[in-house]
């Protein structure tokens, strides 16, 4: 199995770059190669000008990696003890480390938990600690691998905002973010690359990627059954792609479809009526990065993940 296939990207200093794609697309493989945890079978990768395979220690001095859903330290130690320990792996003096821990605890709102054992923290606070660990050493380049995985909306927003501030105002650091949350990439990134089955499909700013879809029409239709069958769209000429979200709680399916012109859309509506599905709403939608993905792959991210998992 090829995890990454002829991937070629260049990230500017001070840029927040997003790598978007479903689970199993190759995002983590790429970030592991760049953070010296994996060796590529062919090709070369440079981080901060250093070859990741030949000069790993030079790379390690300027990078930091924060992964989502990870244990950020030793459960038996308190938050500040864990952070002090990690600061020592980068050679910080104890006094500098303590200052930095204090500042990060205030910035990331975990000051009140500084003396709490890590094992007693909630998932959200554990991830704040994980972020603090990643930022402690003042890295030039920060790798974020699905950093908001499993977090609530407020914590995710807080951490996203903090990283943008860190990269743009405070530090001018470079960030490589992998995510399968399209909104996250849209909100944070200067540029994004969409990756699927190990290949980079497109790379540009979120704005330009969405602008390129203006020629198409995107519609969102909500129908009153969780068992609606949209298979007919595979054969309809003029359908660029579609995604569907089923809700068992409300027994509804939301279909997002991208078509070449509105006449195709009326054909879709009549097909849905033939299935005797009650159409609850139908609205035109603004293009999102998910639509960019649909236009390239022909299916939504959830469908792509279901295919990969199968």
């Amino acid at each position: 199995m090829i995890a990454l296939d002829k991937v070629s990207i260049s990230i500017e200093e001070g840029e927040i770059f997003g790598l978007l794609g479903p689970n199993g697309a190759g995002k983590t493989t790429l970030i592991k190669i760049l953070s010296t945890l994996l060796l590529p079978t062919s090709g070369e990768a440079y981080v901060g000008g250093f070859n990741v395979a030949k000069e790993p220690n030079k790379v390690r001095r300027i990078i930091s990696l924060v992964s989502g859903g990870e244990t950020p330290g030793y459960g038996i130690l308190s938050v500040e003890e864990n952070l002090w320990f990690f600061s020592q792996l980068y050679g910080l003096s104890s006094s500098a480390a303590k200052e930095e821990i204090k500042r990060l605890a205030e910035d990331l709102d975990f000051k009140e938990y500084a003396k709490t054992r890590m094992s007693k923290l909630s998932t959200g606070y554990k991830q704040r600690l994980n972020f603090a660990r990643g930022l402690l050493s003042n890295p030039r380049i920060l790798f974020l691998d699905e950093p908001t995985l499993g977090l609530d909306v407020l914590t995710s927003k807080k951490l996203r905002g903090y990283i943008v501030d860190w990269a743009k105002r405070e530090r001018k650091g470079t960030v490589l973010l992998t995510t399968h949350y399209m909104a996250e990439a849209d909100e944070m990134c200067d540029r994004v690359a969409i990756i699927d089955r190990g290949k980079i499909l497109v790379c540009d700013s979120p704005l330009r990627l969405k602008e390129n879809l203006r020629a198409n029409v995107i519609m969102k239709v909500e129908v009153s059954s969780v068992q609606a069958d949209f298979g007919f769209m595979e054969k309809l000429v003029g359908v660029v792609g579609y995604s569907q979200t089923r809700s068992i709680q409300t027994d509804t399916t939301t279909l997002k479809v991208m078509v070449r012109d509105e006449t195709v859309f009326s054909k879709i509506m009549s097909q849905l009526e033939e299935q005797k599905l009650k159409i609850l709403s139908a609205n035109k939608a603004e293009p999102t990065l998910e639509d960019v993905y649909i236009s390239l792959v022909g299916r939504g991210l959830e469908e792509a993940e279901a295919t990969t998992d199968a």
């Binding site: 995890a3 493989t29 592991k32 953070s35 010296t36 945890l37 994996l38 060796l39 079978t41 220690n57 390690r60 001095r61 990078i63 930091s64 990696l65 992964s67 990870e70 244990t71 330290g73 030793y74 038996i76 130690l77 003890e81 002090w84 320990f85 990690f86 020592q88 792996l89 980068y90 050679g91 660990r133």
Partner: protein, 271 residues
């Protein structure tokens, strides 16, 4: 170069601190460390007394038990620790940091030595006060020299094992389990290897383990009252072990790390 050395020493100290701090937070380990080994040794001491073996045999057991505590520390508190760190995701953090893997292992080992030393002292105290085993030590410095050389050789061996735990996780765990009893037997933890009924081939095999030379040397100095002129062969053997095992450990760690990076298994959990 000096900068890197200072960084590695800081990392080793920090890892040592984690072990000591963590240990202090859960003092229950003291019971296991202090009482269980003494009970195990009592079995052997009483057995030797029952069969009317020379009193030195009981002393052999005490020294054997003391040194075994250090070997167990190497194997389970240092080598196997890489397996746990991998499963909890912390190994990834170590491997992204600009530090030597040996520094982390050194920190783990030294941190574990605090607990181990307590265990060793408990065994020695129990041996001398409860069982009144005879000790005749004329050259304590020679005993100390052999002790430190043995510890260094054991840690180098432990670092090699750590490279296995790093990549093979559970399989390495089973292998280490499998090796524990034979190593205890071959090194003569509870009885002397030389000058006994132990077959020659087994004695030859035992010479491949640094613990055998360490135990033999310390026993001769601490129990039989011998001096450096009698145990110089043990010292030379231990130095040779260190000179071979340390570079081998460094090579093994690098080799396994690279293999793990090539095969994508370095930080892959639940293998």
């Amino acid at each position: 170069m000096l900068e890197q050395l200072a960084l590695n020493l800081k990392a080793a100290y920090a890892r040592l601190w984690v072990r000591v701090k963590g240990g202090n937070r859960e003092p229950e380990w003291l019971i296991a460390e202090l009482i269980i080994p003494v009970i195990t040794l009592s079995t052997y001491v009483y057995l030797y007394k029952m069969v009317k073996a020379p009193p030195e045999y009981a002393s052999f057991v005490i020294i054997g038990g003391t040194m075994l505590a250090f070997w167990s520390n190497v194997l389970w508190n240092m080598s196997a620790q890489f397996y746990w760190e991998k499963e909890t995701g912390i190994l990834e953090v170590y491997f992204v940091a600009p530090i030597s893997r040996m520094a982390i292992l050194l920190g783990m080992a030294l941190g574990g030595m605090v607990n181990t030393t307590l265990r060793a002292v408990a065994i020695l105290v129990a041996g001398t006060l409860i069982f009144q085993v005879p000790m005749v030590m004329n050259e304590p410095l020679t005993a100390l020299l052999i002790f430190f050389l043995t510890i260094a050789a054991l840690y180098a061996l432990g670092m090699m094992f750590a490279s296995l735990f790093m990549l093979y996780g559970r399989e390495a765990w089973h292998t280490a389990n499998l090796l524990q009893e034979p190593i205890q037997f071959l090194s003569g933890t509870y009885f002397p290897m030389t000058g006994t009924v132990v077959p020659f081939m087994v004695q030859l095999l035992s010479s491949l383990i640094p613990l055998t030379f360490g135990l033999d040397g310390i026993r001769r100095v601490a129990i039989l009252g011998q001096g450096i002129t009698d145990v110089w062969m043990n010292i030379v053997a231990l130095v040779i072990f260190i000179l071979i095992l340390l570079p081998l450990a460094k090579f093994a760690l690098n080799y396994m790390e690279n293999l793990g990076k090539k095969e994508g298994r370095l930080t892959l959990r639940w293998q």
